[in-house]
């Protein structure tokens, strides 16, 4: 299944290199955002946002516009919608559920209208990284730079507001607009994920590596570095393994990410036992 020579041969191809580059860029952004997403308990929000990125991408496919732009528009709309409707913590969970279901339904309808190849439809859900071309790569890289630049400015107060909201507010951190801004950043990252691993599996990049990292370290900085490493291993490793057998990358990406997660849980358990 994992034919080494075939893999090496495929690696000579430009589109494969583009795919690897795209994967590395998405892995970096997901790894950096992940620990904050885990700390803020936003897994479900990420899932909801990526479903709406799928809706946007489906609409773009139907209209013949770039899928990347559609996904981006859908994800940002989702982030703003969830930010507006889900202000109260007690509402948030159900608001995400309702919006997610509706968005997915609309997406299914749009795909049904689309007369083109079934492969393109399937790709939106489970990823189609081989279809990433140079324009997509430029959009991905641009999005990544914007997300990382904004995060570099707001990181410290955002971390403060995430781990210690009462004192952060008392210290003058503007939590009122940091939360929706972070939701938009997650939206952009989700849209990037839809193009590579697909709407259903964005969680495997934004949540699983960070959740694994948070199991083995309590340092926010170290957790971020580890999450980036884990996300890159899962993403780049997943693409490499998928080359020869021609399986959708997301199957391997999720498998590697989950294996890392299980390993980190075992390490944490072993450590806890050692300390007694």
């Amino acid at each position: 299944m994992f034919d080494f020579d075939l893999t090496m041969e495929l690696l000579q191809l430009d589109f494969v290199r583009d795919a690897l580059l795209a994967g590395a860029v998405v892995g970096l952004v997901a790894g950096v955002l992940g620990p904050l997403v885990v700390t803020r308990r936003m897994s479900f929000a990420v899932h909801g946002t990526s479903e709406l990125a799928f809706t946007g991408a489906a609409a773009a496919l139907l209209l013949g516009v770039g899928i990347g732009y559609g996904a981006l528009a859908g994800a940002i709309a989702a982030a703003l919608l969830l930010g507006l409707l889900g202000q109260r913590e007690s509402d948030r969970d159900s608001v995400i559920g309702a919006v997610l279901a509706f968005g997915l339904g609309v997406g299914v309808f749009l795909l049904w209208l689309y007369p083109g190849r079934a492969q393109n439809k399937f790709g939106l859900l489970v990823g189609q990284i081989a279809a990433v071309d140079t324009t997509d790569l430029a959009l991905l890289t641009g999005s990544a730079i914007v997300v990382l630049a904004v995060l570099a400015v707001i990181y410290r107060p955002l971390l403060f507001a995430s781990v210690d909201p009462d004192v952060a507010v008392a210290r003058g951190v503007p939590t009122g607009w940091l939360a929706p801004l972070f939701a938009v950043l997650i939206g952009v990252a989700s849209a990037m994920g839809v193009q590579t691993v697909g709407a259903l599996l964005v969680l495997a990049l934004l949540i699983t590596p960070a959740a694994a990292a948070c199991r083995v370290t309590a340092s926010p900085l170290r957790a971020t570095l580890l999450a980036v490493v884990f996300a890159e291993v899962a993403m780049v490793g997943g693409i490499l393994l998928s080359l020869a057998p021609g399986v959708p990358v997301s199957a391997f990406v999720t498998a590697i990410a989950f294996a890392i997660y299980v390993a980190c849980r075992l390490v944490a358990r072993w450590r806890a036992r050692e300390s007694f």
Binding site: A170, R171, S219
Partner: protein, 280 residues
């Protein structure tokens, strides 16, 4: 009263309120409040739920505007992110899996409100280490905060509030849900700080006994009425009966004060969680 040792000059009041009024719609929490807190003074803020104790702290933190009147913190108008203020919130257990160590929590108290990623220099590490040492928390400074006991977490909170070297320390029920031994350690840390550094302390509490020996003066708020004075002047049957508008007995037993009266007892036994809902 304790003389200020260092920090702000003796002429500047640490906290000053003039004819201050706070209303939410039709409801007035307090009106005509005049209050001066000197450097190094320990003021206990008491009163039943919804009497505006936490709101008073919010006004000083700059997150709540007065309806009328003026407020000053070390001679300046309250503003968001005032570095002269340290804040100790209610003890609330931190999530056990939280990705955060004691050093991170204290460090955020120092510069968490500033933009940027935060360059961690040696000077910063030293300050954080000193703050941890001052509250006796060095031992567990590198452990995940979620795995610490409530008392240990609250010590870190005190270090977090003091690391910025504030002139005013605002404490909102910092002893809530701590056992007696930890109540004593935490309140003694706060007391030592104001004696050594002349930091003024505003200590919101529903239970005065754990800090009785430290309190210089009491601000007692009840349904729009209030009284400021020494513990003896305020915590007596006549004054509290007048404030509550009903018969209240204050009994001093050994070195404790007990307030009896159906209405009061009900309020005193509960912390003021409900107050957080007001105005939001």
């Amino acid at each position: 009263m304790t003389q200020p040792v260092s920090g702000v000059s003796a002429e500047t009041e640490a906290v000053s309120l003039r004819d201050a009024r706070l209303s939410y719609g039709q409801r007035t929490l307090w009106n005509g409040l005049n209050l001066d807190v000197e450097p190094g003074e320990f003021l206990a803020v008491l009163g039943p739920n919804g009497s505006g104790k936490t709101s008073l702290l919010r006004v000083l933190l700059g997150t709540q505007e007065l309806t009328s009147g003026t407020a000053r913190v070390v001679g300046e108008s309250p503003g968001k992110g005032n570095r002269r203020i340290g804040y100790v919130p209610q003890q609330r257990a931190m999530a056990s899996g939280l990705t955060l160590r004691g050093t991170d929590l204290v460090g955020l108290g120092l510069d968490g409100h500033r933009w940027g990623v935060g360059v961690r220099g040696r000077a910063r590490r030293k300050r954080v280490a000193e703050a941890l040492d001052a509250v006796g928390a060095s031992e567990y400074g590198n452990m995940p905060v979620g795995q610490l006991s409530g008392g240990e977490q609250q010590r870190l909170r005190v270090a977090q509030a003091l690391v910025g070297d504030p002139d005013v320390l605002l404490c909102d029920e910092p002893l809530l849900s701590l056992d007696l031994a930890h109540q004593r350690t935490v309140s003694e840390l706060i007391d030592r700080r104001r004696r050594e550094a002349g930091t003024a302390v505003l200590f919101v509490t529903h239970e005065i006994n754990p800090v009785l020996s430290m309190v210089d003066r009491v601000l007692y708020l009840v349904a729009g009425r209030f009284r400021v004075g020494t513990t003896g002047e305020v915590m007596n049957s006549a004054t509290l009966s007048e404030l509550y508008g009903t018969r209240v007995e204050v009994i001093r037993v050994a070195d404790q004060i007990h307030v009896a009266g159906a209405h009061v007892a009900l309020c005193e036994d509960e912390p003021h969680h409900l107050e957080h809902a007001v105005g939001e």
